[in-house]
């Protein structure tokens, strides 16, 4: 359904020349989207690639809160104070008595807890079934990329894959296909979008580096977002072609700056594609940033002007609603998990398990 541009929200309840109609709060809620104001807590955030963390403290931030991460006797620890820092500020409530954050090392990533330290639980770690639980993927499959925008803006960009045909056409191919369908599944902690394209133009990156000779390919792309962690799975199955699962976290360093410790498991692809595809992240992220960076400040304040939507935006709209629902719940002091984020999501994302045995 298309919506009229620049129509104030009040117009929904007071249409000119007609009787008043009931408010449509959910629809309005989609347009009351101020992602900059959303701060999620009681969750694990990926803050570093495990091999990068050694004895020297690395500095990170989650919502401007300082995180210093290093290893003690080989075990990752995170503190809100640098060991050399002259403490001039009080300890926050997000750390224990020693100023330490709860930390986990899993999937080759260091995860730090943001929220009540007593609520930290490995059961709240997102399921990433295409990554080896103990890490160990080669360094060329990982990268750190930053986005000059709010993390939810970056994730909304990701879950609306129709942008890829235009913004990333030189990497993933243009918009031409025989058919395109989008399905959305969600619970209180996750949202999953499945995009299926039949006979879509072959992605140039696959044409050049995977040797695909056919003019078209069938594509099944899945985006699954763990709402609290701002962490996403982007899994593409290309036929003919390769399976490309990507861990795409969007850690909010501040409310409008995002850090991505990406991991792309291309273990099953050919030599060239395996090495080149993870590097495409640098190019693709710049292309995304060219839009999300100027977008971000335009979502920092509430506005009566509505966004327009199409049928392809259902997942993005649902993402907005779920995030706002969760934020509202947290605002009311409810930080409980109503759904399990660590349950194996292989079936949900349609993972070909035979390719990812660990």
């Amino acid at each position: 359904m298309l919506e009229a541009a620049d129509r104030p929200i009040e117009a929904d309840n007071d249409p000119a020349g007609g009787p008043a109609r009931p408010a449509a709060p959910k629809l309005n809620a989609v347009n009351n989207w101020v992602p900059h104001d959303i701060v999620m807590r009681d969750t694990w955030f990926p803050i570093a690639h495990a091999p990068h963390v050694g004895k020297k403290p690395l500095r990170r931030a989650v919502y401007s809160h300082p995180y210093f991460v290093w290893r003690e006797n080989g075990v990752a620890v995170a503190s809100e104070f640098h060991p050399n820092e002259i403490a001039t500020r009080e300890k926050s409530s997000y750390t224990d008595a020693a100023g330490r954050y709860p930390v986990m090392e899993h999937y080759g990533v260091i995860w730090a807890w943001f929220g009540n330290p007593k609520a930290a639980d490995p059961a709240h770690l997102p399921s990433l079934p295409f990554l080896p639980p103990k890490g160990g993927l080669p360094g060329y499959m990982t990268a750190t990329v930053r986005f000059d925008c709010s993390a939810p803006i970056s994730l909304e960009n990701l879950i609306d894959l129709t942008h890829a045909d235009f913004l990333h056409a030189d990497v993933v191919g243009d918009e031409k296909s025989d058919s395109e369908t989008i399905e959305t599944f969600y619970d209180s902690e996750t949202i999953t979008m499945v995009r299926t394209c039949i006979n879509k133009s072959v992605a140039p990156v696959m044409k050049f580096f995977s040797g695909i000779r056919q003019p078209t390919q069938n594509i099944r792309q899945v985006i699954r977002i763990y709402l609290r962690s701002h962490a996403a799975i982007a899994y593409g199955r290309f036929t003919p072609g390769d399976d490309v699962p990507l861990f795409h976290p969007c850690t909010p360093e501040t409310r409008d700056r995002t850090r991505m410790e990406m991991v792309m498991n291309t273990s099953n692809a050919g030599f060239m594609f395996r090495h080149v595809m993870p590097k495409a992240g640098y190019k693709v992220s710049r292309q995304d940033s060219s839009m999300t960076s100027p977008q971000s400040p335009r979502y920092m304040l509430p506005t009566p002007r509505k966004d327009l939507h199409s049928k392809f935006d259902q997942a993005g709209q649902r993402y907005r609603l779920l995030m706002m629902d969760l934020a509202e719940r947290q605002k009311g002091g409810d930080f409980d998990y109503r759904d399990n984020v660590s349950a194996d999501c292989s079936d949900i994302i349609g993972l070909r398990k035979e390719l990812f045995q660990f």
């Binding site: 570093a48 690639h49 990068h52 690395l58 500095r59 931030a61 401007s64 300082p66 640098h82 050399n84 820092e85 002259i86 990268a143 750190t144 990329v145 930053r146 986005f147 000059d148 360093e253 501040t254 409310r255 409008d256 700056r257 850090r259 640098y282 992220s285 710049r286 940033s289 960076s293 100027p294 971000s296 400040p297 920092m300 304040l301």
Partner: protein
């Protein structure tokens, strides 16, 4: 635009201590208010409205007399700096007693840390004093209003200031927030021009921490490395002047522990400068980001102050 709260009693840093002498008056302005500064024979900095109440000539075009009074260059009327009272009219011989209304408008002056500050409100309590004056200093005049200047300082500091070898990135370690009545943020930076692009950098070797006064925009800046060594400290005072110009006085000093090639280079030549010319093409396309937080925070602080005053 970021609007510093122009409350009464605001102390504006209008000069460096070394700019104010007993040799020659110094003309400055705060918005459209012209001010003349000089030192009297006790070495005290004085400030009057830069307007002779006789025929409105700028007092700054006059001179400073041996007794510390400022003398208008038009008809020679002399004024005492502390009170602004007229002390002498040439050729009046012994009849030099004047009614109290014969006075120039005097402003409160406070000097500290190598800066001279003026308050347009004479009843204002002076700011906390410090004896330490940072050795490096300068004054720049920028053709940009103070509000827009502060916006740019928050969103794209590299357009306004130059720290030797330092490249500012768009990425923040801490977004703008209120801390002890100041607006505080920390920005990630890189050394030199040959480095991995900032968007793809996992670590940054240095950060710039800024603490900005919400009323004046006066900003204390600290450059430090990833081991928390302070490499450089600076204080910038952007003051709104006439015709939409911003006068920026600054002082700076190098830290005691300079580790690494780039840090040691700070100790040679000119480590810090405030640009007079701004790249308007680049400035035009800077998207508002941190400055939007600034607006919200200043608004919230002003509201809280109003509530507190009402209570």
């Amino acid at each position: 635009m970021f609007m510093a709260t122009r409350v009464s009693g605001t102390w504006w840093t209008v000069a460096l201590s070394e700019e104010v002498t007993s040799k020659k008056p110094l003309a400055v302005d705060i918005d459209d208010q012209p001010v003349v500064l000089w030192r009297d024979n006790q070495g005290m900095a004085r400030a009057l409205e830069d307007r002779c109440p006789h025929r409105r000539a700028p007092l700054s075009l006059g001179c400073i007399r041996d007794n510390g009074w400022i003398q208008c260059g038009y008809h020679g009327w002399s004024y005492d700096g502390e009170s602004g009272r007229l002390k002498e009219i040439p050729n009046m011989k012994d009849d030099q007693r004047f009614p109290p209304v014969y006075r120039a408008r005097a402003f409160a002056v406070a000097e500290s840390g190598g800066f001279v500050r003026v308050s347009l409100d004479t009843d204002t309590v002076p700011p906390a004093a410090t004896d330490h004056a940072m050795p490096l200093s300068g004054t720049s005049h920028v053709a940009l209003g103070q509000s827009a200047y502060l916006d740019a300082l928050y969103d794209a500091p590299g357009l306004l200031i130059d720290i030797k070898g330092v490249q500012f990135t768009p990425y923040l370690m801490s977004e703008l927030h209120e801390e002890d009545g100041l607006l505080v943020m920390e920005r990630n930076c890189q050394w030199g021009k040959l480095h991995w692009p900032s968007f793809a950098s996992a670590e940054f070797p240095i950060t710039v921490l800024t603490r900005t006064h919400p009323a004046t925009g006066e900003t204390e800046l600290t450059l430090r490395d990833d081991a928390f060594n302070t490499l450089l400290t600076a204080c910038l005072a952007p003051v709104p002047a006439a015709r939409g110009v911003t006068q920026v006085r600054w002082r700076a000093e190098i830290g005691k522990t300079l580790k690494g090639y780039h840090a040691r280079r700070l100790g040679r030549g000119t480590p810090f400068a405030v640009r007079e010319a701004i790249d308007a093409t680049a400035l035009r396309v800077v998207k508002p980001s941190v400055s939007l937080h600034g607006h919200q925070l200043v608004g919230a602080m002003a509201t809280a102050a109003d509530i507190s005053a009402a209570a």
